[in-house]
Structure formats: structure tokens, C-alpha cells
Point group: C2
């Protein structure tokens, strides 16, 4: 990469002072400079192929115009839409999103957090909230502006953009009750996540309200394997439920696998409801009944909350809850 033109080169060619070039090229300050001069500066800049060096600008203005986004694993299909939503808000405002993965490890998260801080990010979006979230605590103590997305913080009063988990579970339960289901198992996501807790509590409350025989079964992680293992325990435990409300779609997929492995059919033997409506959930075998969470919009809202926090410099512990919608497909049917 050959040496690139600087503001000094442009100034020389346009016959003005570097400071003037800076003012002429910045939309906020171009009002302070003669239109004719602006024209000359622009021409010189174009001729030299000048591109502002945002590193130098960032050093001077102490704002990098980049936002760190911390996700557990980009490969989990709910995160790409969230990230795209974040970018769709940030990009038009001149920010870039620096996305990093933690693989669910607090240790890794601390490392990537450090690297984001070194890069002088203007703010952080955590998709990794959980109880005892030490990185969020550290960020909070360092006065780093941040928000949570999808999951709420388990440890600090950062704003959050989340889906209406409780409503999603209530809708699932109502749907199952209407189909005649009575004995229902909830495969609860791992403890420590706000999503797991809210969904679990909504399940218990919902069963009580509808007079259903609900049982909560733990899972070790939000993964297909964990869902399969937990469901296999349910199956071998005797009394089969007629329906399963899974903590998310991955767990529901694990339920599919366990059912198939035990020559049980879905929905004929057991109905299954997922959560998230991850991409292609409608193409699974059987097409999955699940709760659609507006992940893209969650990303947009999180970015908006963060930008407001950055601009106003006040940490408003607001929570934005977006509505969810039960999508009924082929994995649920009448009890028989």
C-alpha cells in the first residue's frame, strides 16, 4: 500500500492551510468556510484521491466511532439477524460495529473486552448477559457505555432490548391447551440467563393459570445436544408428556432427535413448541411451531439505546420489550 494523501497534501495543492481543509471537508464545520474555497479543496482532494484517516481523527477527537458487539457465537443462528439490525442503525450514523465472540467463556469475554477497550470503542452491546456477568460489571465500573440485547443484565443496570418472553410462553401454553394437552414438560434453558428464568417462570405461572400439569426439566446449555439429552431423560423416566415447550429452537431440535431415536412421532405422540423462530425453522422435519422473536429489531433497538446513552451521557436503565408472535406449524397437533 503506497503512501496515501494527507490533509497537508490537499492543503498544498489547494493553496490553503490544513486547518481550512479540515473545516471544508467536515460537514459540521463547512459553514465556516467560503464556498469557493470548499470547491477548490474538494477538487484537490478528489485529484489526490484523499481519504480521511479516521485513526488520526479518532486520536484527536477521542472518539473512534466504533461500537463493540459481544456475542456468544455468531454461528448460533439468532445472532446474525441481531448483528444486522445493530449495523442497520449504526452504519448510517457513521459508526462501525466490531463483532467478537466469547463461546460462552467468561475468560474469553474478558479478553475480547480488553481488546475492545484498547481499540477505544465508544460503546458496547452485550448479547452475553447472565448472572455474575463479570465483564459487564467491569465495564460498568470503568464507566463504559453499554446496553444489553436479547438477554438482560444479571448484574448491572444497563438498558436492554429484549423480546416478550413471558408472552411467548403464555401463547404457546394457550395453543397447547386448546389442542387438549394437559401433561406438558418445559425444557428450561440453563439457569443464569434472564431468558431462561423469565420463560421458566412464565411456564409455571401459565400452567397454574390454565390448570395444566406442567413439569420443568433442566438443560445444560442452549444446544441441540443438551436438548436431546434432557428429552431422553424425560422419555426414559416413564410418564411421557403429550407436549414439550422447549426453551429455544435448538433445544426443540434436540427433542426431535430424541423422539426419532425412540421411534416416537411428532406431533402424533408428542407435540413440540420451540422459541425464537430461527431461520429455516419452517423447513425442519416437522416444520416447527415456535415463538417468533424479532431479532433484527432487537438489534436496532439496542443500537438506538446505546447511541442515546452516548449522546446524552446518561445511563437510563430502560428496558425495551418487543412483542413476539406464536407461529403455528406442523410440530403441534391435537392430543390423542
Amino acid at each position: 500500500m503506497s503512501r496515501r494523501a494527507t490533509i497537508a497534501d490537499v492543503a498544498r495543492l489547494a493553496g490553503v492551510h490544513p486547518g481550512t481543509v479540515s473545516r471544508a471537508l467536515n460537514s459540521r464545520t463547512e459553514g465556516q468556510v467560503n464556498p469557493e474555497t470548499i470547491r477548490r479543496v474538494r477538487a484537490a482532494a478528489r485529484q489526490l484521491g484523499y481519504t480521511p484517516n479516521s485513526i488520526a481523527r479518532g486520536l484527536r477527537t477521542s472518539s473512534s466511532m466504533t461500537i463493540g458487539v459481544i456475542v456468544p457465537d455468531l454461528t448460533n443462528p439468532i445472532f446474525p439477524p441481531i448483528v444486522r439490525g445493530i449495523e442497520s442503525y449504526l452504519t448510517p450514523r457513521g459508526y462501525s460495529a466490531l463483532v467478537v465472540n466469547t463461546d460462552g467463556s467468561d475468560e474469553t469475554e474478558r479478553l475480547v473486552f480488553q481488546s475492545l477497550i484498547q481499540r477505544q470503542v465508544d460503546g458496547l452491546i452485550f448479547a452475553t448477559g447472565h448472572q455474575g456477568h463479570s465483564t459487564a460489571t467491569e465495564a460498568f465500573e470503568l464507566d463504559v457505555k453499554a446496553v444489553m440485547v436479547n438477554r438482560e443484565s444479571g448484574s448491572v443496570p444497563y438498558p436492554a432490548a429484549v423480546g416478550d418472553d413471558a408472552q411467548g410462553i403464555r401463547a404457546s401454553l394457550a395453543h397447547l391447551a386448546q389442542l387438549g394437552h394437559q401433561r406438558i414438560v418445559h425444557l428450561a434453558g440453563p439457569t443464569g440467563f434472564s431468558t431462561s428464568q423469565v420463560r421458566r417462570e412464565a411456564f409455571v405461572a401459565g400452567c397454574a393459570a390454565l390448570g395444566l400439569d406442567g413439569t420443568v426439566v433442566e438443560t445444560a446449555a442452549y444446544t441441540v445436544d443438551a436438548g436431546q439429552r434432557s428429552m431422553e431423560r424425560v422419555i426414559s423416566g416413564g410418564e411421557l408428556p403429550t407436549a414439550v415447550v422447549a426453551g429455544n429452537d435448538l433445544l426443540a431440535l434436540g427433542v426431535y432427535h430424541a423422539l426419532r431415536g425412540n421411534a416416537l412421532r411428532c406431533p402424533e405422540d408428542v407435540s413440540v413448541v420451540g422459541f425464537n423462530d430461527m431461520p429455516f425453522a419452517g423447513d425442519f422435519e416437522p416444520a416447527m411451531t415456535t415463538v417468533r422473536v424479532p431479532h433484527f429489531d432487537l438489534g436496532v433497538e439496542a443500537a438506538r439505546l446505546l447511541c442515546e446513552e452516548i449522546e446524552t451521557s446518561v445511563i437510563t436503565a430502560i428496558k425495551v420489550v418487543l412483542p413476539v408472535e406464536l407461529v403455528i406449524r406442523a410440530s403441534t397437533g391435537p392430543v390423542r
Copy 2:
């Protein structure tokens, strides 16, 4: 965010010159400084919670330690694994990956390219290669170091990490021939992408070699909808093939939809082979026979090629081709 400690603060506390702090804290130069001094500097740094400002360092060293990654759409399930592969190579080497989306628009790509250049990225990884790829041409002319991943460049001699597309198609054809299929349609991806072209040529050559009756049908994009539309044309066109080799899994999913919409069964009426083995391809209805492409490893190789280019400053127009593997599942069966 309160004012953070700088190297000057550390120097003052440790009673040394800022230059010495810099040397003491940098692994490449710490050999030049007294161990006892290093200890004192480290203690002072820890006490102040000092974090190096990589923006300032980048300005001084004119290297940002960030790599731009340009993808069409993170929401397309083949890209997250590629991105993770890239990061897995870059992160341990101190680089960060700045991922941006183009949504397949050259205009958007030029914009994000500009923003990456302003951010002084040390190199670029394009997952967007195609014929007349103007952004790659621009990058090349600006002497920007870059590599291609998944698709080769249609316009400039940048190195590329790609899967063995031709081999994948040959394996698919051999599998279908063995099941007795004769009349086979290839749903070719849109022209202009190296993947489309290589797969299409391999299909034609493979059919000739195996004595199969192969027909190529165009698609407008690598999407489910485009696959469905093209397959519907095939179905309404009369003579139904006994098997379809789709340009990728999304197109194959579109074939599923078209078949279902016309009360045709897969694989009983038509066998279908996809390409990529995208996540959850085994959970579709029916479980998809497809060619597994090692996307994560493609990302690793691309990052490696780029780092070599950055370090040696020579653009070696190398191509790394990774092996692929046919994964046989339930969407292909004997002809009947």
C-alpha cells in the same frame, strides 16, 4: 467514561520516561530494558489500570491491526462459519476483524470499502468476488492487500481460498448415477460467480463423462425463492428429471418447496442434492444430501494467505483449494 490512564501517567508513577514505559510494555522491545524497571513499570500500570490506546499506537505505527471482511450477508448461513474461521486465525495474532455486509450491491460495497479504507485496515478479505468486481479492482489499484474467500476474484489476481467445487459436483453425479438416475437437471447459480461457473462446467463435463442426460437451468440468485421459481419452471416444462443437482442448499430448499407445492415427493419422485451442507441441512424435510464445504477452514486459510501477504509484502496469486465431501442423507434415493 472517565479519563483513562496514559503512558505518561504510568511513567510518572514509575519514575521513568514515557519512552521507557513504551519499551517495557511492548514484548518486542522489553529486551532493551532492565528487568527491575519492567517490574516497576508493570506495577505502576496495573495500579493505574492502564490500557494501551491502540488508536494512538496505530497512528504512530501506521498499522491498525484490523482486517476488513466484506461479506454479502451475514444472515446467509455459510458466512458465519467463514467469519469464525477468519477470527480464529486473526485473534491470536492481535488482529481484529471488521465485518461488513453488502447485500449484493456493488454500490453498498463501494461505500463499506471506503469506510474500511478510512479506518486504515491492514488488509481485506472479500467473500463477494464476482465478474466485474469493481471494488476489488479499486482495492488492487490502491495497492490494498487482500484475498478472496469462498469465491475467486473475477477481476484481479488476489489469492483465494475456495472449496473443490468441481469435485463436489462429480461426487454428486456419481452418487446419482449409481442410484440409476439418467435425466438430471442442474439448477445453476447466477452467472458471474466463480462458484456458479465451476459447478456448472463440472456438471456438464460430469454428465458427458458418465453418459447422463444433463440439463442446465438458470436461477436468478442463490436464494430459496429463486430456486423455487426455477424448479417450478422445470416442473411445468413437462419432462420431469429424476434428480436435481442444486447450485447450493438454499436453491435445493427452493426445490423442496416447488416439489411440495406440486404434490411431488422427494426422493420418491425427484432426488435432490444441495451444495455447502449449511447448518441444520440434516434437519430439513427430508434430510438433505449435500456437498460439505469446510467453510470454517476456508476462513482460516484466507486469513493465513492475507497475513502472509501483509508480512512479506508480496502478492502471490495463489489459490488454496480445500477438499469437499458428499454427505448422503434422505433427499436422494434410487430411481423408480
